[in-house]
Amino acid sequence: MVIHRLSIDRYFLPESEREATRLLEQASGRYFPIGGGTGFAFSKPKNLRGIVDLSRAGLDYVKKRKNGIHIGAATPIRTLMDSPALAGYCGGVLPEAALTIATTPLRNMITVGGNAIQVYYWSSLPPLLLALKARFVIAGKKKRTMPAESFYSKQPRRHLDRAEILREILLPPGQKGVAGAFLKFSKTDTDFALVNVAAVIRAEGGICRDASIVLGAVSPLPIRLQKAEKILKGSSLSKEIIEKAAAEGIESVKIMRDFRVSPGYKKKIIPTLVERSLSLASDRCLGDV
Protein backbone atom coordinates (compact mmCIF):
# COMPACT_ATOMS: atom_id res chain seq x y z
CA MET A 1 0.00 0.00 0.00
CA VAL A 2 1.47 3.37 -1.00
CA ILE A 3 0.97 6.24 1.42
CA HIS A 4 1.60 9.60 -0.21
CA ARG A 5 1.00 11.92 2.66
CA LEU A 6 0.32 11.50 6.34
CA SER A 7 -2.83 13.29 7.49
CA ILE A 8 -1.27 15.00 10.48
CA ASP A 9 -1.52 18.50 11.92
CA ARG A 10 1.74 18.65 13.83
CA TYR A 11 5.33 17.45 13.48
CA PHE A 12 7.62 17.64 16.49
CA LEU A 13 11.39 17.31 16.74
CA PRO A 14 11.97 17.14 20.51
CA GLU A 15 15.54 17.56 21.70
CA SER A 16 15.32 15.23 24.68
CA GLU A 17 13.53 12.04 25.65
CA ARG A 18 11.73 13.95 28.41
CA GLU A 19 10.34 16.42 25.91
CA ALA A 20 9.31 13.51 23.68
CA THR A 21 7.43 11.64 26.41
CA ARG A 22 5.80 14.85 27.60
CA LEU A 23 4.47 15.48 24.10
CA LEU A 24 3.12 11.96 23.87
CA GLU A 25 1.47 12.20 27.27
CA GLN A 26 -0.27 15.44 26.39
CA ALA A 27 -1.57 14.03 23.12
CA SER A 28 -3.64 11.18 24.61
CA GLY A 29 -2.68 8.72 21.92
CA ARG A 30 -3.05 11.03 18.95
CA TYR A 31 0.68 11.46 18.43
CA PHE A 32 3.03 8.69 17.36
CA PRO A 33 6.77 8.39 18.03
CA ILE A 34 9.04 7.50 15.13
CA GLY A 35 12.71 6.60 14.74
CA GLY A 36 13.19 6.50 10.96
CA GLY A 37 9.51 6.54 10.02
CA THR A 38 10.01 3.93 7.31
CA GLY A 39 7.27 1.76 8.79
CA PHE A 40 4.75 4.14 7.28
CA ALA A 41 5.57 2.48 3.95
CA PHE A 42 3.45 -0.42 5.22
CA SER A 43 0.80 1.14 7.42
CA LYS A 44 -0.04 4.01 9.68
CA PRO A 45 -1.72 4.11 13.08
CA LYS A 46 -5.40 5.01 13.27
CA ASN A 47 -6.41 8.49 14.44
CA LEU A 48 -2.91 9.81 13.88
CA ARG A 49 -2.76 13.57 14.30
CA GLY A 50 0.91 14.21 14.97
CA ILE A 51 4.40 12.75 14.80
CA VAL A 52 7.04 12.91 17.52
CA ASP A 53 10.31 12.40 15.66
CA LEU A 54 12.99 10.99 17.97
CA SER A 55 15.94 11.65 15.63
CA ARG A 56 17.09 14.69 17.66
CA ALA A 57 16.17 13.48 21.15
CA GLY A 58 19.71 12.42 22.05
CA LEU A 59 19.06 8.73 21.42
CA ASP A 60 21.57 8.17 18.61
CA TYR A 61 24.62 6.55 20.22
CA VAL A 62 26.59 3.36 20.78
CA LYS A 63 28.51 3.34 24.07
CA LYS A 64 30.69 0.64 25.54
CA ARG A 65 30.47 0.58 29.33
CA LYS A 66 31.49 -1.88 32.04
CA ASN A 67 27.93 -3.19 32.24
CA GLY A 68 27.68 -3.74 28.50
CA ILE A 69 26.93 -2.02 25.23
CA HIS A 70 24.31 0.74 25.27
CA ILE A 71 22.61 1.44 21.95
CA GLY A 72 20.25 4.40 21.70
CA ALA A 73 16.90 3.57 20.14
CA ALA A 74 17.24 6.24 17.43
CA THR A 75 20.61 4.91 16.22
CA PRO A 76 20.48 4.19 12.47
CA ILE A 77 21.18 0.60 11.42
CA ARG A 78 24.17 1.86 9.46
CA THR A 79 25.89 2.76 12.74
CA LEU A 80 25.83 -0.90 13.77
CA MET A 81 28.05 -1.57 10.76
CA ASP A 82 30.46 1.30 11.40
CA SER A 83 30.77 1.48 15.19
CA PRO A 84 34.19 0.42 16.53
CA ALA A 85 32.49 -0.70 19.77
CA LEU A 86 30.58 -3.39 17.87
CA ALA A 87 33.19 -4.60 15.39
CA GLY A 88 34.53 -7.35 17.64
CA TYR A 89 31.55 -7.72 19.96
CA CYS A 90 30.33 -11.31 20.06
CA GLY A 91 32.26 -12.29 16.96
CA GLY A 92 31.03 -9.29 14.96
CA VAL A 93 27.45 -10.53 14.84
CA LEU A 94 25.82 -7.07 14.97
CA PRO A 95 27.44 -5.66 11.80
CA GLU A 96 26.77 -9.05 10.20
CA ALA A 97 23.05 -8.80 10.98
CA ALA A 98 22.87 -5.10 10.12
CA LEU A 99 24.11 -5.79 6.60
CA THR A 100 21.12 -8.11 6.03
CA ILE A 101 18.64 -5.33 6.73
CA ALA A 102 17.20 -3.67 3.63
CA THR A 103 19.54 -1.51 1.50
CA THR A 104 22.18 1.18 1.95
CA PRO A 105 19.78 4.17 1.83
CA LEU A 106 17.27 2.45 4.11
CA ARG A 107 20.00 1.55 6.62
CA ASN A 108 20.59 5.29 6.98
CA MET A 109 16.95 5.71 7.99
CA ILE A 110 15.78 2.56 9.80
CA THR A 111 16.67 2.76 13.48
CA VAL A 112 17.75 0.05 15.91
CA GLY A 113 14.79 0.87 18.15
CA GLY A 114 12.35 0.87 15.28
CA ASN A 115 13.57 -2.47 13.97
CA ALA A 116 13.49 -3.90 17.49
CA ILE A 117 10.04 -2.71 18.50
CA GLN A 118 8.02 -2.85 15.27
CA VAL A 119 8.37 -6.55 14.59
CA TYR A 120 7.63 -7.75 11.10
CA TYR A 121 8.05 -11.49 10.90
CA TRP A 122 11.04 -11.10 8.58
CA SER A 123 12.85 -8.56 10.83
CA SER A 124 16.53 -9.22 11.53
CA LEU A 125 17.24 -7.55 14.87
CA PRO A 126 14.51 -9.14 17.04
CA PRO A 127 15.87 -12.72 16.70
CA LEU A 128 19.42 -11.49 17.30
CA LEU A 129 18.52 -9.35 20.31
CA LEU A 130 16.65 -12.31 21.79
CA ALA A 131 19.67 -14.56 21.22
CA LEU A 132 22.00 -11.96 22.78
CA LYS A 133 19.73 -11.67 25.85
CA ALA A 134 19.40 -7.93 25.35
CA ARG A 135 17.50 -5.72 27.77
CA PHE A 136 15.18 -2.94 26.67
CA VAL A 137 15.02 0.37 28.53
CA ILE A 138 11.67 2.10 28.31
CA ALA A 139 11.27 5.77 29.15
CA GLY A 140 8.08 7.45 30.29
CA LYS A 141 6.76 8.50 33.68
CA LYS A 142 9.14 5.92 35.11
CA LYS A 143 12.14 4.33 33.48
CA ARG A 144 11.88 0.52 33.36
CA THR A 145 13.90 -2.30 31.85
CA MET A 146 12.58 -5.48 30.23
CA PRO A 147 14.56 -8.59 29.32
CA ALA A 148 14.28 -9.75 25.71
CA GLU A 149 12.35 -12.88 26.66
CA SER A 150 9.53 -10.69 28.04
CA PHE A 151 9.87 -7.99 25.39
CA TYR A 152 9.26 -10.49 22.61
CA SER A 153 6.50 -12.41 24.38
CA LYS A 154 4.06 -10.29 22.34
CA GLN A 155 4.28 -7.46 19.79
CA PRO A 156 6.64 -5.24 21.79
CA ARG A 157 4.74 -2.02 21.12
CA ARG A 158 1.92 -3.44 23.23
CA HIS A 159 4.18 -3.35 26.31
CA LEU A 160 4.38 0.42 26.09
CA ASP A 161 1.67 2.83 27.09
CA ARG A 162 1.00 5.73 24.77
CA ALA A 163 3.35 8.11 26.61
CA GLU A 164 6.32 5.75 26.64
CA ILE A 165 9.16 5.27 24.19
CA LEU A 166 11.88 2.69 23.78
CA ARG A 167 14.95 4.57 24.95
CA GLU A 168 17.85 2.20 24.75
CA ILE A 169 18.92 -1.38 24.17
CA LEU A 170 21.47 -2.91 26.53
CA LEU A 171 23.65 -5.79 25.47
CA PRO A 172 25.62 -7.88 27.98
CA PRO A 173 29.36 -7.12 28.22
CA GLY A 174 31.49 -8.90 25.65
CA GLN A 175 33.25 -11.97 26.98
CA LYS A 176 35.96 -14.25 25.75
CA GLY A 177 34.47 -17.51 24.54
CA VAL A 178 31.14 -15.95 23.55
CA ALA A 179 30.36 -15.45 19.89
CA GLY A 180 27.40 -15.38 17.59
CA ALA A 181 26.39 -15.66 13.97
CA PHE A 182 23.43 -14.34 12.02
CA LEU A 183 22.28 -15.77 8.71
CA LYS A 184 19.43 -14.66 6.51
CA PHE A 185 17.98 -16.74 3.71
CA SER A 186 16.18 -14.76 1.03
CA LYS A 187 15.72 -14.67 -2.72
CA THR A 188 18.06 -11.70 -3.11
CA ASP A 189 20.44 -9.94 -0.73
CA THR A 190 18.08 -7.07 -0.04
CA ASP A 191 14.79 -8.98 -0.01
CA PHE A 192 12.84 -9.74 3.18
CA ALA A 193 14.03 -12.92 4.91
CA LEU A 194 12.33 -16.22 4.14
CA VAL A 195 14.10 -17.58 7.22
CA ASN A 196 16.71 -16.07 9.48
CA VAL A 197 18.74 -17.58 12.32
CA ALA A 198 20.64 -15.98 15.19
CA ALA A 199 22.96 -18.25 17.16
CA VAL A 200 25.00 -17.21 20.21
CA ILE A 201 27.27 -19.71 21.93
CA ARG A 202 29.39 -19.59 25.07
CA ALA A 203 32.15 -22.18 25.13
CA GLU A 204 35.01 -23.15 27.42
CA GLY A 205 37.69 -25.61 26.36
CA GLY A 206 35.63 -26.67 23.35
CA ILE A 207 32.54 -27.47 25.44
CA CYS A 208 29.34 -25.53 24.96
CA ARG A 209 28.31 -23.96 28.27
CA ASP A 210 25.34 -22.01 26.93
CA ALA A 211 23.56 -21.56 23.62
CA SER A 212 20.79 -19.31 22.33
CA ILE A 213 19.37 -20.20 18.94
CA VAL A 214 16.53 -18.08 17.59
CA LEU A 215 14.57 -18.43 14.38
CA GLY A 216 12.93 -15.54 12.59
CA ALA A 217 10.41 -15.37 9.73
CA VAL A 218 8.74 -18.65 10.68
CA SER A 219 6.25 -17.17 13.15
CA PRO A 220 4.93 -13.68 13.93
CA LEU A 221 7.55 -13.25 16.67
CA PRO A 222 11.06 -14.74 16.91
CA ILE A 223 11.23 -18.18 18.56
CA ARG A 224 13.96 -19.93 20.48
CA LEU A 225 14.93 -23.46 19.53
CA GLN A 226 15.10 -24.71 23.10
CA LYS A 227 15.42 -28.35 22.11
CA ALA A 228 18.47 -27.57 19.95
CA GLU A 229 19.94 -25.50 22.78
CA LYS A 230 19.58 -28.45 25.19
CA ILE A 231 21.37 -30.78 22.77
CA LEU A 232 24.33 -28.40 22.62
CA LYS A 233 24.67 -27.49 26.30
CA GLY A 234 27.35 -29.51 28.00
CA SER A 235 28.46 -31.13 24.74
CA SER A 236 31.58 -30.64 22.70
CA LEU A 237 31.07 -28.39 19.71
CA SER A 238 31.70 -31.12 17.20
CA LYS A 239 30.28 -31.30 13.70
CA GLU A 240 28.11 -34.25 14.74
CA ILE A 241 26.56 -32.49 17.71
CA ILE A 242 25.87 -29.37 15.66
CA GLU A 243 24.21 -31.46 12.93
CA LYS A 244 22.12 -33.28 15.56
CA ALA A 245 21.03 -29.99 17.16
CA ALA A 246 20.10 -28.58 13.76
CA ALA A 247 18.20 -31.66 12.63
CA GLU A 248 16.34 -32.54 15.84
CA GLY A 249 16.03 -29.07 17.27
CA ILE A 250 13.34 -27.90 14.90
CA GLU A 251 11.06 -30.89 15.22
CA SER A 252 8.39 -29.17 17.24
CA VAL A 253 8.57 -25.80 15.46
CA LYS A 254 5.27 -24.70 13.91
CA ILE A 255 5.93 -22.79 10.72
CA MET A 256 3.32 -20.19 9.82
CA ARG A 257 1.89 -19.72 6.36
CA ASP A 258 3.86 -17.34 4.16
CA PHE A 259 2.48 -16.29 0.77
CA ARG A 260 5.99 -16.40 -0.71
CA VAL A 261 6.95 -20.02 0.01
CA SER A 262 5.31 -23.05 1.61
CA PRO A 263 5.96 -24.13 5.22
CA GLY A 264 7.38 -27.34 3.74
CA TYR A 265 10.02 -25.37 1.86
CA LYS A 266 11.05 -23.52 5.00
CA LYS A 267 11.13 -26.78 6.95
CA LYS A 268 13.68 -28.13 4.46
CA ILE A 269 16.04 -25.17 4.61
CA ILE A 270 15.88 -24.38 8.33
CA PRO A 271 18.17 -27.24 9.50
CA THR A 272 20.85 -26.23 6.98
CA LEU A 273 20.68 -22.61 8.05
CA VAL A 274 20.77 -23.53 11.74
CA GLU A 275 23.73 -25.84 11.15
CA ARG A 276 25.65 -23.15 9.25
CA SER A 277 25.01 -20.50 11.88
CA LEU A 278 26.01 -22.84 14.72
CA SER A 279 29.21 -23.83 12.89
CA LEU A 280 30.09 -20.20 12.30
CA ALA A 281 29.34 -19.19 15.89
CA SER A 282 31.30 -22.17 17.17
CA ASP A 283 34.34 -21.37 14.99
CA ARG A 284 34.26 -17.77 16.21
CA CYS A 285 33.99 -18.95 19.83
CA LEU A 286 36.91 -21.26 19.47
CA GLY A 287 38.91 -18.57 17.71
CA ASP A 288 39.26 -20.43 14.45
CA VAL A 289 37.84 -17.60 12.32
Binding site: S7, Y11, L13, I34, T38, A41, D53, P105, N108
Partner: protein, 156 residues
Protein backbone atom coordinates in the same frame (compact mmCIF):
# COMPACT_ATOMS: atom_id res chain seq x y z
CA UNK B 1 4.50 24.83 8.45
CA UNK B 2 7.76 26.43 7.48
CA UNK B 3 10.73 24.29 6.53
CA UNK B 4 14.15 25.96 6.56
CA UNK B 5 16.92 23.84 5.17
CA UNK B 6 19.82 23.82 2.77
CA UNK B 7 19.39 22.34 -0.69
CA UNK B 8 22.64 21.91 -2.60
CA UNK B 9 24.33 24.15 -0.03
CA UNK B 10 21.87 27.02 -0.58
CA UNK B 11 19.53 28.07 2.20
CA UNK B 12 15.88 27.60 1.31
CA UNK B 13 12.57 28.23 3.02
CA UNK B 14 9.61 26.17 1.91
CA UNK B 15 6.00 26.05 3.08
CA UNK B 16 5.03 22.44 3.58
CA UNK B 17 2.28 20.26 4.97
CA UNK B 18 3.53 18.51 8.15
CA UNK B 19 2.72 15.10 6.66
CA UNK B 20 4.56 15.54 3.36
CA UNK B 21 7.54 13.51 2.28
CA UNK B 22 10.77 15.09 1.11
CA UNK B 23 10.32 13.71 -2.44
CA UNK B 24 7.12 15.69 -2.99
CA UNK B 25 8.50 18.91 -1.56
CA UNK B 26 11.66 18.75 -3.67
CA UNK B 27 9.77 18.07 -6.88
CA UNK B 28 7.27 20.82 -6.17
CA UNK B 29 10.13 23.22 -5.63
CA UNK B 30 11.63 22.35 -9.01
CA UNK B 31 14.22 19.67 -8.20
CA UNK B 32 12.96 17.41 -10.95
CA UNK B 33 16.01 15.15 -10.93
CA UNK B 34 14.47 13.49 -7.86
CA UNK B 35 12.21 10.82 -9.36
CA UNK B 36 9.13 9.13 -8.03
CA UNK B 37 9.32 5.37 -8.52
CA UNK B 38 7.91 2.89 -6.03
CA UNK B 39 7.14 5.22 -3.12
CA UNK B 40 8.11 2.47 -0.69
CA UNK B 41 11.89 2.74 -0.46
CA UNK B 42 12.65 -0.11 -2.83
CA UNK B 43 13.72 1.31 -6.20
CA UNK B 44 16.05 4.15 -5.24
CA UNK B 45 14.91 6.53 -7.98
CA UNK B 46 14.15 9.06 -5.26
CA UNK B 47 17.51 8.84 -3.48
CA UNK B 48 18.97 12.16 -2.30
CA UNK B 49 21.77 12.84 0.15
CA UNK B 50 20.74 14.04 3.60
CA UNK B 51 23.79 15.51 5.33
CA UNK B 52 25.87 13.50 2.88
CA UNK B 53 24.14 10.15 3.40
CA UNK B 54 21.85 8.54 0.82
CA UNK B 55 18.20 8.21 1.86
CA UNK B 56 14.94 7.37 0.09
CA UNK B 57 13.24 10.76 -0.09
CA UNK B 58 9.87 9.07 -0.64
CA UNK B 59 10.00 7.88 2.96
CA UNK B 60 11.71 10.83 4.64
CA UNK B 61 9.23 13.17 6.34
CA UNK B 62 10.06 16.60 4.93
CA UNK B 63 9.73 18.20 8.35
CA UNK B 64 12.59 16.05 9.64
CA UNK B 65 14.96 18.00 7.35
CA UNK B 66 14.65 21.22 9.36
CA UNK B 67 18.11 22.83 9.34
CA UNK B 68 19.72 20.02 7.40
CA UNK B 69 21.49 19.81 4.04
CA UNK B 70 19.90 17.98 1.13
CA UNK B 71 21.86 17.22 -2.04
CA UNK B 72 20.15 16.43 -5.33
CA UNK B 73 21.70 15.71 -8.72
CA UNK B 74 21.20 19.39 -9.59
CA UNK B 75 23.84 20.09 -6.97
CA UNK B 76 26.48 17.88 -8.54
CA UNK B 77 27.38 20.03 -11.48
CA UNK B 78 25.94 21.96 -14.40
CA UNK B 79 26.12 21.35 -18.18
CA UNK B 80 29.31 23.42 -18.42
CA UNK B 81 30.97 21.92 -15.36
CA UNK B 82 29.99 18.32 -14.95
CA UNK B 83 30.90 16.39 -11.83
CA UNK B 84 33.41 13.58 -12.53
CA UNK B 85 30.61 11.10 -11.84
CA UNK B 86 28.41 12.72 -14.48
CA UNK B 87 31.30 12.70 -16.96
CA UNK B 88 32.06 9.08 -16.21
CA UNK B 89 28.43 7.98 -16.58
CA UNK B 90 28.30 9.59 -20.02
CA UNK B 91 31.68 8.27 -21.15
CA UNK B 92 30.89 4.73 -19.96
CA UNK B 93 27.45 4.58 -21.57
CA UNK B 94 25.88 4.08 -18.14
CA UNK B 95 22.69 6.00 -18.97
CA UNK B 96 19.81 4.63 -21.04
CA UNK B 97 16.39 5.93 -20.06
CA UNK B 98 17.99 8.00 -17.32
CA UNK B 99 15.32 7.48 -14.70
CA UNK B 100 17.54 5.71 -12.18
CA UNK B 101 20.55 7.89 -12.94
CA UNK B 102 20.13 10.73 -10.43
CA UNK B 103 19.75 8.22 -7.60
CA UNK B 104 22.71 6.21 -8.88
CA UNK B 105 24.87 9.35 -9.06
CA UNK B 106 24.07 10.38 -5.51
CA UNK B 107 24.58 6.94 -3.98
CA UNK B 108 27.88 6.80 -5.87
CA UNK B 109 28.88 10.24 -4.65
CA UNK B 110 28.24 9.23 -1.05
CA UNK B 111 30.41 6.15 -1.56
CA UNK B 112 33.32 8.01 -3.18
CA UNK B 113 33.24 10.82 -0.62
CA UNK B 114 33.72 8.19 2.07
CA UNK B 115 35.86 5.68 0.18
CA UNK B 116 37.88 7.10 -2.72
CA UNK B 117 39.12 3.70 -3.93
CA UNK B 118 36.28 1.21 -3.55
CA UNK B 119 36.38 -2.41 -4.56
CA UNK B 120 33.79 -3.86 -6.92
CA UNK B 121 32.01 -5.38 -3.95
CA UNK B 122 31.91 -2.05 -2.13
CA UNK B 123 30.44 -0.34 -5.19
CA UNK B 124 27.78 -3.03 -5.52
CA UNK B 125 26.89 -2.68 -1.87
CA UNK B 126 26.69 1.10 -2.09
CA UNK B 127 24.29 0.80 -5.02
CA UNK B 128 22.21 -2.03 -3.55
CA UNK B 129 19.29 0.38 -3.09
CA UNK B 130 19.26 1.65 -6.67
CA UNK B 131 17.47 -0.46 -9.28
CA UNK B 132 17.98 -0.13 -13.02
CA UNK B 133 15.73 -1.80 -15.59
CA UNK B 134 17.78 -0.76 -18.61
CA UNK B 135 21.51 -1.20 -18.32
CA UNK B 136 22.17 -4.47 -16.52
CA UNK B 137 24.42 -2.48 -14.15
CA UNK B 138 27.77 -3.36 -15.78
CA UNK B 139 28.30 0.07 -17.30
CA UNK B 140 27.17 1.77 -14.12
CA UNK B 141 29.83 -0.11 -12.13
CA UNK B 142 32.42 0.83 -14.76
CA UNK B 143 31.36 4.46 -14.54
CA UNK B 144 31.76 4.56 -10.76
CA UNK B 145 35.26 3.09 -11.02
CA UNK B 146 36.14 5.56 -13.73
CA UNK B 147 34.81 8.45 -11.64
CA UNK B 148 36.79 7.24 -8.63
CA UNK B 149 39.94 7.36 -10.72
CA UNK B 150 39.12 10.84 -12.02
CA UNK B 151 38.45 12.10 -8.51
CA UNK B 152 41.69 10.62 -7.16
CA UNK B 153 43.56 12.31 -10.01
CA UNK B 154 41.87 15.63 -9.27
CA UNK B 155 43.01 15.42 -5.67
CA UNK B 156 46.66 15.09 -6.63
Amino acid sequence: MELKLFVNDRQKVFTIDPGEHLLDVLRREGYNSVKEGCREGTCGACVVLLDGRPVNSCLVPAARCQGRNVTTAEGLGDPDHLHPLQEAFIESGAVQCGYCTPGMLLSSKALLDDNPDPTDGEIRQALDGNLCRCTGYVKILEAVKKAAEKMRENRK
